[in-house]
């Protein structure tokens, strides 16, 4: 918004020093702005101003404030406001940039602004706002950067206070991620083991029992029922009581002994294609090994053959948890970031407090910073929580460096927050933002390689995943956890995420500026 300040100089510059004095000041004293620029005591009164300011009030009053804003000459400038759209509402933000530097008597503004009894009336009656303008306004331009920081600080305080005013909010913000991690940690388990199996053994020999034992020995299958009737297999699968049905026909042992090629019928419930595929593989292998053992004992099969020695790196036990928990960090971070910011702006708009912010000297950039930083800090704390529990409780190896993880997480959090803010600035109602967030979040999860591998997606969707910050972050976080990769290897991911963060935050600021017009 600073740039915009210079784009809108006509009245600010044209009116000269006196105009400068009166111009921004009435804005400054308008409800929200004053507390922001002022000391702690004033701030203390702020939540009530924001919280209780009845939805109906601010809209009307802010409008009148806008009209009374003019820099010395009401008529012309309000006309100017209407015409020169872009600047009209944000005018409050400009003074610091637009005003000529020289004019600014040091710290006087502080005293003036901190005067509580001045705050109250101005909040109540915008009309009186122009009361004591000169000193403060010129002072505001004093050290633009310092003031900008002060405004941001005030905004941060407001955001934090608003966030934590409701104790339930605190519980959600810190409790939910932990709960989610536990849920993910225990539930997300693609390891196929203890698959419910029903056995129908028509043979009832030592051999047939040995085969069933071989099936259950590895822990992959668990017999949940035995029966004599084949029909029971179908019923168990229909009702979902079992995923596998094994039927050993009569004469199994006899065929095996005679080397005639014994047969076993296996029924697989293909509803869960993943479990079915893996289970089918296990069964084929177990049955084959069982046969090979018997045949070798009888000397029926030639020896030798390919001896496949497979080793899985990074995760020798092929435990899905090791792979999933680092990814959970990413998924939860994105979800929390979105939850923290998706309603941030649209909420103020719906409550009408956005107008108060708009007429205050806060710039769009400052507002975005004020909305981003608290959420980013919370998300970082969440990240530390989840990563800590993940490594300590779930025994996920952490082979990389904490610093790398922090850096990448910070970039990623900024990117996610940026998307949240963008949704928030685009939406008109909170309901819409909620849905918009979902419209973004679900595809982001699905196209990230979290639940489904990216490399099996059709080319179009694989290309689409490149636009997804979560996809890059998952590569990053998995590599940091499991492979111990450092910035040297991961800079492409880091750079991509950083560029996305910068881009989307800029977009959010731009959208916000346009939206408040």
């Amino acid at each position: 918004m600073r740039e915009r300040g210079s784009a809108r100089p006509p009245d600010a510059l044209g009116t000269g020093p006196s105009g400068l004095g009166s111009g921004p000041s009435d804005l400054g004293s308008a409800a929200a702005s004053l507390p922001l620029g002022s000391g702690p005591e004033v701030l203390r009164s702020e939540p009530s101003a924001l919280g209780s300011a009845a939805p109906q009030a601010p809209l009307g009053s802010s409008a009148s404030r806008l009209d009374s804003r003019p820099d010395g000459s009401p008529a012309t400038s309000s006309a100017g406001c209407a015409g020169a759209e872009p600047s009209s509402r944000e005018a409050g933000a400009e003074p610091s940039a637009a005003e000529p530097r020289p004019l600014r008597p040091g710290p006087s503004w502080r005293a003036a602004a901190a005067e509580p009894n001045e705050v109250e009336p101005s909040k109540a009656e915008p009309g009186e706002a122009a009361a004591e303008p000169g000193a403060r306004a010129s002072a505001r331009s004093a050290r633009p950067r310092r003031e900008s920081l002060l405004r941001i600080r005030a905004l941060l305080r407001k955001e934090f206070r608003q966030l934590f005013r409701d104790p339930r909010s605190k519980r959600i913000v810190f409790g939910a991620p932990v709960l989610q991690l536990l849920l993910f940690g225990y539930a997300v388990n693609t390891d196929v083991h203890r698959v419910a199996t029903v056995v129908v053994d028509h043979d009832r020999t030592a051999e047939s029992r040995a085969l069933v034992d071989a099936l259950t020995a590895g822990g992959y299958f668990r017999v949940v029922g035995r029966s004599d009737r084949s029909a029971d297999l179908a019923a168990a699968l229909d009702a979902g009581k079992a995923t596998i049905g094994v039927e050993i026909p009569a004469g199994f042992a006899r065929d095996l002994a005679a080397g005639r090629g014994a047969r076993v019928q296996v029924l697989v419930d293909g509803t869960n294609s993943n479990t079915a595929t893996v289970a089918q593989g296990y069964i084929a292998r177990i049955v084959q090994e069982f046969g090979a053992e018997r045949a070798a004992a009888a000397g029926a099969l030639p020896t030798g053959g390919v001896d496949l020695r497979a080793r899985a790196w990074y995760n020798p036990d092929l435990a899905s948890r090791v792979y999933n928990i680092p990814a959970v960090v990413g998924a939860i971070l994105m979800m929390m970031s979105l939850l923290l910011t998706a309603l941030a702006v649209v909420r103020e708009r719906e409550l009408g407090t956005l107008d108060q912010l708009v007429v205050s000297p806060i710039t769009a950039g400052e507002l975005i910073v004020g909305k981003t930083v608290p959420a980013a800090l919370i998300a970082l704390v969440d990240m530390a929580l989840i990563a800590g529990i993940g490594t300590l409780w779930f025994d996920v190896p952490f082979r990389g460096s904490v610093l790398t993880l922090l850096l990448g997480s910070a970039f990623f959090i900024l990117a996610s927050l940026g998307f949240g803010l963008l949704i928030s600035t685009v939406s008109r109602t909170q309901q819409e933002a909620f849905m918009g967030m979902f419209l973004f979040f679900l595809p982001a999860i699905i196209l990230s390689g979290f639940l489904y591998p990216v490399h099996t997606m059709p080319a179009f969707f694989r290309a689409l995943t490149l636009l997804n910050p979560l996809r890059h972050f998952l590569e990053f976080v998995r590599a940091v956890f499991l492979k111990g990769a450092g910035i040297g290897e991961l800079w492409p991911q880091l750079a991509t995420i950083a560029v996305m963060a910068a881009g989307v935050l800029w977009l959010a600021t731009w959208r916000f500026r346009r939206a408040v017009r």
């Binding site: 196929v192 698959v195 293909g270 292998r285 045949a295």
Partner: protein, 372 residues
């Protein structure tokens, strides 16, 4: 006394309000179908074309035949021939390939001599799921290759054969598993999302006082607010079902009426839950966060959509019994894939009725017409 007229008035008000929020309305109607089409296309758990790097130190006809056997299976594709064995680690670390196949020198000689011929397969265990499946395939390929080589065309029957038949989804297409499940997951989230803000919104906007001042009973408010969303939800499921069958070719073997009835029960419960959250929390931000955490994760994780509930720890299995999505998924999969009827799904039906009763009961109980 309850009056249908007042109930309908509330429903009409809600509908008008919804209609005025044009974009929310469009999202409510379009989001489920969009998500279904999107995910149905994107999600593919079928593991094929696993990229493999090969280091062939034997360089014989036999070793080449083994590599061909891997390629011909369709599950693997050779992405790269390695010059040095030492490159394997770097390739895996960079994620360029999922596996490295190393055939040491002397492979053909060992085979011919009837000695075990070692072959090394390094897999990126990072993605445990893909790695497990790849391992299974590789085992099967190696076994078949050995048999062919050893028997040299002689027809000898394997001692034991597992004759496997896959039911409900014979081709093991992940899409058939995902689409019915996805309908259930999307609907449980959308349902809570539709109603989670309705009452909080009235509180925040100050219209609750107006509502409180009217003679409308709280049951009428709850049901009146539900009505439009039930209609939207039913519409969503209908469109999603048609899309699932027509676009994705998912078989629909069961009864439409059964699905509709179960959907209605499910929606009543899920929407009621949304209203309960909304009425209990009274803030849209909080309601959104609670709704997200309370519906999205359980529906995704504990419903059996992706992960078998049977493989979970007992505590989670117990928790999953109170997750309505679990029953609804059993219904959609049962109706779509298995073609089972009420004789099998009556258990789910009982739970759905209970869920609807609890959801609506909670909603009504939490909704107070008092301005505190």
């Amino acid at each position: 006394m309850l009056s249908a007229q007042r109930l309908l008035a509330v429903a009409r008000k809600e509908w008008i309000q919804l209609r005025r929020d044009r974009r929310s309305m469009i999202l409510a109607f379009a989001l489920p179908v969009f998500l279904l089409l999107f995910f149905g296309q994107a999600i593919n758990w079928d593991v094929t074309d696993i990229p493999l790097a090969v280091r062939d130190e034997d360089r014989t006809q036999r070793s080449r035949a083994l590599v061909e056997a891997f390629e011909e299976s369709g599950y693997f594709r050779v992405a790269e021939w390695l010059e040095r064995r030492g490159d394997a680690e770097a390739r895996l670390a960079r994620g360029v390939v999922t596996g490295v196949l190393i055939i040491p020198a002397g492979f053909a000689r060992d085979l011919a001599a009837g000695r075990p011929a070692p072959v090394q397969l390094l897999l990126d265990g990072g993605d445990a799921n893909t790695a497990t499946i790849a391992l299974n395939y590789a085992d099967a390929i190696a076994a078949r290759f050995s048999r062919d080589v050893l028997l040299e065309g002689r027809r000898v029957e394997a001692p034991v054969t597992a004759e496997t038949r896959v039911w409900y989804n014979p081709t093991l297409e992940s899409r058939h598993m995902i689409v019915p499940g996805l309908i259930a997951v999307i609907m449980s989230i959308i349902a809570a999302m539709l109603t989670a803000l309705t009452i909080a919104r009235e509180w925040e906007r100050g219209t609750m006082e107006q509502l409180a001042a009217t003679p409308v009973h709280r049951l009428e408010v709850v049901f009146g607010k539900l009505l439009p969303y039930v209609a939207i939800g039913l519409f969503d499921v209908a469109v999603a079902t048609v899309a699932g069958v027509l676009v994705f070719g998912v078989p629909f073997n069961g009864s439409v009426v059964l699905l509709a009835a179960m959907t209605l029960l499910f929606l009543l419960g899920a929407l009621g839950l949304g209203i309960f959250i909304s009425a209990a929390v009274r803030s849209q931000v909080l309601a959104m966060q609670v709704a997200m955490v309370a519906t999205y994760l359980p529906a995704l994780l504990l419903s059996g959509f992706l992960y078998d509930v049977a493989g979970m720890p007992r505590v989670l299995q117990a928790v999953s019994y109170i997750i309505p999505a679990r029953y609804y998924i059993a219904v959609t999969r049962g109706v779509f894939l298995k073609g089972v009827g009420l004789e099998t799904l009556w258990i789910q039906g009982v739970f759905m009725v209970a869920f609807a009763a609890v959801g609506l009961g909670l909603a009504t109980a939490a909704f107070r017409k008092r301005i505190a």
